[in-house]
């Protein structure tokens, strides 16, 4: 039996039922990584010894929990006391975190076995994983294509069968878009649902950690293990925010397989734009027809401020990033320039040497937006438009249970295709940024394949399902209904 083909649930149950040991499972995945990740480069760092130790602890009964023996990959911007936490940046190439992120503590307590740290766009800034200082990650479905970003390694690792699930982070779409491009389920939780303690900060009002997995139940199981209030993150939501009256609440798994009767799904015409390629358009039409045949009502909604999401996001996120990245100064940790002339030169040269171009671009954009003379025109104005974007969603959710739409305008693009035009790269995020700006949860699920690409590689397409704050349980049920009717999740790349 090839253990690397098993799901999170099957691995957990297999270990618990002693069909195989946690060490056998870890070994199987580590062997697969050793054999094939040279081509893909999903991992920045494989932690084989640590993984086998953790697996042995499970087998000896020292660690139990809902994820006991389940191997998992961790995006390299989440602090782990094992290995390094580099954010795929030269700035943090040798950084060893002195503490575990809260999500890591929770995964450990649940018995999960961490296999290593996954490649990403540097400091989570990018949509293709081409901005990594360790090299690009390839899409397992078609090796000349990007896996998406910034959680490209997280997506590629799961798609290639290197781990059944991974953690990523999402600030403007960085879980959902790579999940879409790699045929996976990816969830950006409601802002505040998952602790950001130990997540290297990019944009503090937008960042969330979330799972990527091959099917809905697996993603829900990982999310369930990491979500919940945390005293170490003052932006994490207290339990009474998870209002059960919305038919949602904290229980993500209890009713997962129960189809929702009388479901009202909203579609915004702004998400059915001409920018969508023919394959994406077809996949959405098919999805709408399927939901209708399942008894759902499709409701047209209007999200008039959708098109302002990109400028707002790239002003707000970069402003926050310019502040969050000020800590990389060559003094406390990270890269330090060899022969600084003075203190200011120490800062300026260390940062110039440690950061890649995209990081510099965003620091400068953010600094500019916040600078004297421009603060009102850019940053403040963007915050006001942000509220309008939020209000669009509030109004839409009065008419429907959840919204559906494409995660991206089309499938993965080729490595190098968009990397010379920053603005073109930013426009990839058009359907994902508004969830982060508003704080609402969103998930992406595979909704079909584009079979029309020139090299005849079928490339996955993702559909987004998004809803009001803390509606994850409902979104997961909707996703599960869709998944059961389609079975895209059984399809694998031929890597």
């Amino acid at each position: 039996m090839d253990l690397t083909q098993l799901t999170v649930t099957e691995l957990r149950d297999g270990v618990a039922g002693r069909k195989f040991s946690a060490q056998e499972a870890a070994r199987a995945f580590l062997d697969r990584i050793a054999a094939r990740d040279g081509t893909i480069h999903a991992f920045n760092e494989v932690l084989a010894d640590e993984a086998m130790l953790a697996a042995r602890a499970v087998d000896e009964g020292k660690v139990t929990g809902p994820l006991a023996g389940v191997p998992i990959g961790i995006k390299d911007n989440i602090c782990t006391t094992i290995g390094h936490t580099t954010c795929s940046s030269r700035m943090l190439k040798n950084f060893r975190a002195p503490y575990d992120a809260t999500v890591i503590k929770r995964l450990k307590a649940a018995g999960a076995v961490m296999l290593g740290k996954l490649n990403m766009d540097e400091f989570a800034m990018g949509s293709s994983t081409e901005n990594s200082s360790t090299g690009v990650t390839r899409n397992p479905w078609a090796l000349d294509y990007v896996p998406g970003g910034s959680s490209g390694g997280s997506a590629a690792a799961v798609a290639a069968g290197f781990c059944p699930a991974s953690l990523g982070s999402d600030t403007g779409g960085s879980i959902r878009q790579p999940a879409a491009l790699c045929g996976l389920v990816g969830i950006k939780p409601t802002y505040g649902m998952v602790s950001r303690y130990g997540l290297v900060a990019f944009a503090s009002s937008l960042d969330q950690i979330g799972p990527l997995a091959r099917n809905v139940r697996d993603a829900a199981t990982i999310l369930d293990a990491i979500a919940g209030p945390d005293g170490l993150d003052s932006t994490s939501a207290p339990l009474d925010f998870y209002s059960a009256s919305q038919g949602a609440g904290r229980d993500l798994l209890g009713k997962l397989d129960e189809p929702i009767k009388g479901l009202k799904l909203g579609i915004a015409r702004q998400y059915l734009s001409d920018a969508n390629g023919p394959a994406m358009r077809q996949a959405m039409e098919k999805a709408i027809a399927q939901f209708t045949s399942m008894g759902a009502t499709i409701v047209e909604v209007d999200l008039p401020h959708t098109e302002y999401g990109i400028p707002v996001y790239y002003l707000v996120a970069t402003a926050e990033a310019s502040s969050n990245l000020a800590r990389y100064d060559g003094v406390h940790y990270g890269h330090r320039t060899a022969t600084p002339e003075d203190l200011i030169d120490l800062y300026a040269a260390s940062r110039a040497e440690g950061f890649g171009d995209e990081v510099k671009r965003r620091i400068m954009l953010g600094t500019y937006a916040l600078s004297s003379g421009y603060y009102d025109a850019y940053y403040l104005r963007a915050l006001k438009v942000r509220r309008l974007i939020r209000q669009d969603f509030d109004r839409a959710f009065e008419k429907c249970d959840a919204l559906i739409g494409p995660t991206t305008t089309g499938p993965a693009f080729k490595i190098g295709e968009k990397s010379s035009d920053p603005l073109q790269m930013y426009l990839n995020d058009v359907y994902t940024v508004n969830c982060n700006l508003a704080g609402i949860p969103g998930l992406s699920i595979c909704c079909g394949f584009d079979e029309s690409t020139v090299d005849r590689h079928p490339l996955p397409l993702g559909m987004q399902i998004f809803g009001p704050n803390f509606s994850e349980a409902k979104l997961l049920r909707i996703a599960r209904m869709f998944e059961a009717a389609n079975n895209h999740h059984h399809r694998r790349p031929s890597i």
Binding site: N94, F95, R96, P98, Y191, G192, S205, L206, G231, T235, A237, F241, H305, E307, Y308, V312, L315, A326, G330, V331, H332, Y333, G334, H335, R336, P340, D342, L343, I344, D345, Y347, A348, A349, R351, A352, F355, K360, R361, I363, M364, L365, T367, Y368, S371, A377, L380, R381, L383, K384, V385, R387, L388, R390, P422, L423, Y426, L437, A438, G439, I440
Partner: protein, 103 residues
């Protein structure tokens, strides 16, 4: 607002604020790219936002406090472990004040 083109001068200023050392070629390279990006952002000026409250974050939480009880901090060794240059228990830096300090 007129067509926004970021001048090399403005990029130099912003690079200085952001403590990013760069050559003249790099300044110009980034000025072109950032101008292009900012050009796209002008569209937020189309909207009437007179009576709209800014939204700085997505949560209704304010003033989250915890009891004023000490917990266990990092040890000095842990705090210095990743530092490029130290003189324990200190981080070592070039002169901050005085002649040649740059400050």
């Amino acid at each position: 607002m007129t067509t926004q083109r970021l001048t090399d001068q403005e990029v130099r200023h912003v690079a200085k604020l952001g403590r990013l050392k760069m050559s003249d070629e790099q300044v110009h390279y980034f000025a072109e790219q950032l101008s292009h990006v900012l050009g796209h952002f002008q569209k937020i000026n189309e909207l009437n936002i007179d009576d709209v409250e800014p939204m700085a974050h997505a949560t209704d939480l304010t003033n989250v406090f915890r009891p004023d009880e000490p917990s266990t901090p990092l040890t000095v060794e842990q705090a210095l472990a990743n530092a490029p240059q130290t003189l324990p228990p200190f981080f070592k830096v070039p002169k901050v004040l005085g002649e040649g300090s740059g400050a």
